[in-house]
């Protein structure tokens, strides 16, 4: 079988990416709004635009490792486990992982050993994927409703994605010119 046959469908991959990004953006832009007044004390309007760009680019950067890990898992696992409903399964898991990572970095959740942290993250991701996969198969009506809700969320996610890309453009512009 050609390797590309193992890739999740483009639309599904985008859904997963956009959902994960939405979670990262909610955190990132929330923090931006929270800290914005402080930064107005020490940055010019031009700097503040640059800073907003950095926030947008940071969220995009955040999502890539999670999305890539889930995408790789989908390529490796049997189709019915993850690839078939990659958008919903990986998207929701990605959102959960963003929340988890924020809790870890804010030290709300703590681990003594770094390997315990990796283990806990892996267990959480696998459990989320399995549970969501099982629920989607077990409750088809709920799955359809969920899919419809996600389709609506995607519109919001695309708007955020545009802001993220604008952020990347600002960062590049600041560092090139």
């Amino acid at each position: 079988m050609a390797i590309s046959k193992r890739f999740p469908a483009r639309g599904e991959a985008f859904t997963a990416f956009a959902l994960t990004l939405l979670a990262a953006d909610l955190w990132t832009f929330g923090r931006f709004i929270y800290t914005y007044p402080r930064f107005t004390q020490l940055m010019t309007p031009g700097d503040l635009v640059g800073l907003a760009g950095y926030f947008g680019a940071a969220a995009l950067l955040d999502v890539l490792p999670i999305w890539l890990a889930l995408w790789t898992a989908a390529c490796l696992l049997p189709e019915r486990w993850l690839r078939r409903q990659f958008g919903v399964q990986a998207g929701l898991t990605g959102m959960l992982l963003i929340v988890w990572v924020v809790l870890l970095l804010r030290r709300v959740v703590r681990f003594g050993s770094p390997w315990t942290l990796v283990g806990a993250t892996a267990v959480l991701a696998v459990a989320a994927l399995a549970l969501i996969g099982w629920a989607l198969g077990r409750f088809p009506r709920a799955a359809a409703l969920l899919r419809a809700a996600i389709d609506r969320l995607l519109v919001l996610a695309v708007i955020y994605l545009a802001l993220n890309l604008l952020g990347v453009a600002i960062v590049l512009a600041r560092n090139v010119f």
Partner: protein, 496 residues
């Protein structure tokens, strides 16, 4: 006809062409002396035996000072890294440079005063290194005037690889990168998942480091602030000595090290050195503008660790000096040893992030080793961090700028007995608005005025006046008894 390929080639070469003038333009080589400014972060003059501290924290500096000019009443421009370093590097008081926030930079008008630009214009090769991210943001701001900006994680034992790579890639935007880090992750490192990866690798490295250095550093391995770049002072100073020796002659080097900044991590051969010496800190009342209430026992404990850390700094400084001397560099080099601000263990407060401008956090060491100097010289006049940039520029033959400093006595300047010096803490005031909240201090002769303004707390005295000759511990506020002196000193404070 230009093809797509030739267009892309041209596009790739374009940035290099833009850089060409700076790469190829022949600069006049400076033939004057070299300069090394060595800043040890949060080093209080009051904790140095060189200046009479009862604990012998700086025996090596006392010995080496036999060939140096020692400034006894030298003051930082502010109480923490950003204003202190900005004053030192620009020769301007915080009233003019307005770099007084964490992550802050100077105004564009102040930027042109930076010492790197001044010495570079005189033909000097300029290089700079700091382990302190807040100082690194200032160095990034002055990056156009730096021939070599050594990355802050250099010679570190461990570092977060991805955030480090990001910082290197976006070095000119250090303020942005660190602002995002602080806002999103409380200065943890990098972006969220990237930061998590960084912390994971960091944790593994740290376990290995503790395994290896745990016994050598019983109070913890030194690390630099939010970046958690673990380091050994001897490695960093050794690396800097080598980088200096390899530099083209006619250089100006600014090295800003983290030690003895908290966490206080003396090496095993210094740890416990002052444990049973019977010294205790003078007891001072709490200040109404400070909420910290560290117990006197804890103040004594942290002070002891700090003093032991200074003893380590002193030891390694002497080794650095010996390495420079051995290389012959000191024959034609000024070595300037100083600090950006001090540290305090009094009134319930440990550290320096305070609204107070007490002596321990603004009175800093300044020792200058001149080329071929064989006699010690002691300067008891008031001097300020703002004096350094202009003095070095004058020694380098650079044109004078209208900064706030005067030429240092002993380095071409004359004593000016009535000259006031100033410090300011305004971290709660916008950089762009008139000063409405903060603490200003003015020294003239033996008198010191501290002026608090704009704080919400109702029960603080807006002015404190001390005669430091009679009351060096600042226990007797004479403001009510001598309003004329208060008015005279207040009139000296710089305006907007």
């Amino acid at each position: 006809m230009p093809t797509r390929r030739t267009f892309l080639k041209a596009l790739a070469v374009a940035p290099l062409l833009a850089l060409r003038p700076s790469l190829t333009a022949a600069r006049r080589r400076a033939d004057g002396p070299n300069f090394i400014v060595l800043v040890f972060d949060a080093w209080s003059a009051g904790h140095c035996s060189l200046y009479g501290y009862p604990r012998d924290t700086t025996p090596h500096l006392r010995r080496l000072a036999a060939r140096a000019t020692v400034y006894h009443r030298h003051y930082a421009g502010g109480s923490y890294t950003v204003p202190g370093t900005a004053s030192l590097l620009t020769g301007l008081t915080p009233w003019r440079h307005r770099a007084w926030h964490l992550l802050g930079t100077t105004t564009p008008e102040a930027q042109v005063f930076n010492v790197f630009g001044r010495l570079r214009a005189a033909g000097y090769q300029t290089l700079a290194f700091t382990q302190n991210i807040f100082a690194d943001i200032l160095l990034s701001q002055f990056g156009a005037d730096l021939d070599r900006h050594i990355p802050l994680e250099s010679w570190a034992l461990s570092r977060n690889r991805i955030p480090t790579a990001l910082r290197r890639l976006l070095r000119d935007d250090a303020q942005m990168v660190e602002s995002v880090n602080e806002a999103l992750y409380s200065l943890q490192s990098g972006a969220t998942t990237v930061g998590l990866y960084g912390r994971f690798v960091d944790s593994l490295s740290l376990l290995a480091l503790h395994e290896r250095y745990g016994e050598t550093y019983p109070a913890g391995i030194p690390f630099a602030g939010g970046q958690r770049n673990y380091f050994l002072l001897e490695d960093v100073l050794g690396g800097l000595a080598q980088a200096t020796a390899e530099s083209e002659r006619g250089f100006f080097a600014y090295y800003h090290l983290m030690s003895p900044h908290a966490p206080y991590t003396p090496r095993a051969d210094f740890f416990g050195r002052f444990a049973d010496d019977g010294y205790t800190l003078p007891v001072k009342p709490y200040h109404p503008l400070e909420s910290d209430r560290t117990s006197q026992d804890d103040l004594n404990y942290f002070c002891r660790l700090y003093d032991e850390y200074i003893a380590l700094v002193d030891f390694e400084l002497a080794r650095f000096y010996a390495a420079l001397e051995q290389s012959g560099l000191l024959d034609n080099t000024y070595l300037i040893v100083t600090s950006d601000h001090g540290e305090m263990f009094e009134r319930g407060l440990v550290g320096h992030m305070s609204t107070l401008l007490s002596e321990p956090i603004v009175h800093v060491p300044l020792v200058i080793f001149g080329p071929g100097q064989t006699q010690r010289r002691d300067v008891h006049d008031l001097t300020s961090a703002v004096d350094l940039a202009g003095t070095l520029a004058a020694l380098a033959g650079a044109p004078a700028l209208a900064d706030d400093g005067v030429r240092l006595p002993g380095l071409g300047g004359a004593a000016q007995p009535g000259r006031p010096v100033f410090a300011l803490d305004a971290k709660r005031n916008s950089k762009f608005r008139p000063l409405q909240i903060g603490t200003a201090a003015a020294w003239q002769g033996t008198r010191k005025l501290v002026h608090y303004f704009g704080y919400e707390t109702a029960d603080y005295a807006p002015e404190e006046l001390f005669d430091l000759a009679l009351d060096p511990l600042e226990l007797d506020n004479r403001a009510a008894a001598d309003p004329a002196a208060v008015a005279a000193l207040r009139a000296l404070l710089p305006g907007e």
